[in-house]
Symmetry: C2
Subunit: 195 residues, 2 copies
DNA sequence: GTCTATAGCGAGATAGAC
DNA sequence: GTCTATCTCGCTATAGAC
């Protein structure tokens, strides 16, 4: 089957998402034009609309697929039984997952304001599900007496904020290895919730 | 001294900064137009340029004055002598200061990407000075044996990220008082760096 | 599936009257 | 100091040829 010259459906879609993710993370959704994305992909702006409904739909798909992947990755992770082991697993998973996807993380946290109301609600629900994972671990550990956490929900917010902050300073060329970064955060999280 | 009708230099300037701060925090710098700010102030867009050189200068002034105020407020705070007391003072100060200025905080963290290179360097230097305050407290405490912190710099990043996260969930109408929120964060910070 | 061309709109910033 | 009017530019999104 001959294919029309200039037809690249299998590669333009992924390239579009990759270019948009990189540009949105670097400059912000509102500051990046469709023309700029198209130039990065190597097509004209109009051609992008074969793959997305509009710019807003592109942002939503990037954020939704990131959070879907985050939840799926956690659920398939082999875990121990006790709350302490679960907390260590969560801490190391969160640091590792976020360091592997700095652009997607940046967008998921910074571009909530630019979502349409309906899209915002969908993304917030996914984020809330992830926060609840940690909240449940902390609550279980507190019930077992392994942790001293008066307010599981707000403690979960605090821990997630601390862990996610790693993306603002970590660089692969830096002094610390990823394993050392995991250890550093696990040490602080373990003590912060300890009895 | 008669004043020209329609002349309001003393109030338009502050109103411009207040309107810009609220709108930038809510919708993002790139998504807010000068016309929208002018409408909020109650003047035409052209009149704004009597007070600012351009939109970029407006953003820079908002961010710089916020960080100047942050550093000045810390420096005039009465403090104890030991590292433990200094850490508690810093924690409570940071939470209180940030809860009082949610819009300014939001802009200072989210709009770095939209600063011109020279402006970015100036803002980053101020932020770095503030991080160093906490870093020095942690280093001193580690030297005294009061804290167990292997890496003062990255521990400071982690603590600041955790504390600043309070602005993402705290609401005045919520269940917790500000004093309770301060206590919650101080409890976690104290343990996280404890020996 | 991609192209060129463009409709339709709103942006930042300036000029000059009052 | 603020107004109206406007310059110039870039934006999202679509239409229709290939």
């Amino acid at each position: 089957m001959a294919r029309t010259s200039g037809s690249h459906s299998e590669i333009t879609g992924p390239r579009l998402r990759a270019a948009a993710q990189a540009l949105f993370a670097r400059h912000g959704y509102a500051a990046v034009s469709m023309r700029r994305i198209a130039a990065e992909v190597g097509v004209q702006a109009g051609a992008l609309y074969n793959y997305i409904p509009d710019k807003q739909g592109l942002l939503f798909e990037l954020m939704k697929s990131h959070l879907d992947e985050l939840l799926a990755a956690w659920q398939t992770l082999p875990k121990g039984v006790g709350a302490r082991d679960a907390l260590e697993a969560f801490t190391r998973f969160h640091v590792r997952f976020h360091l592997d996807r700095p652009d997607a993380v940046f967008i998921a946290y910074m571009e909530l304001r630019n979502l349409d109301p309906a899209n915002f609600r969908a993304i917030e629900a996914l984020r809330r599900r992830y926060e609840t994972v940690l909240e449940d671990i902390l609550r279980q550990g507190a019930a077992e007496g392994a942790f001293d956490v008066a307010d599981s929900k707000h403690a979960a917010f605090a821990v997630i904020a601390m862990l996610t902050g790693v993306t603002t300073w970590y660089r692969d060329e830096g002094r610390l290895s990823r394993a050392e970064v995991e250890d550093l955060y696990w040490s602080m999280v373990r003590k912060a919730v300890s009895a």
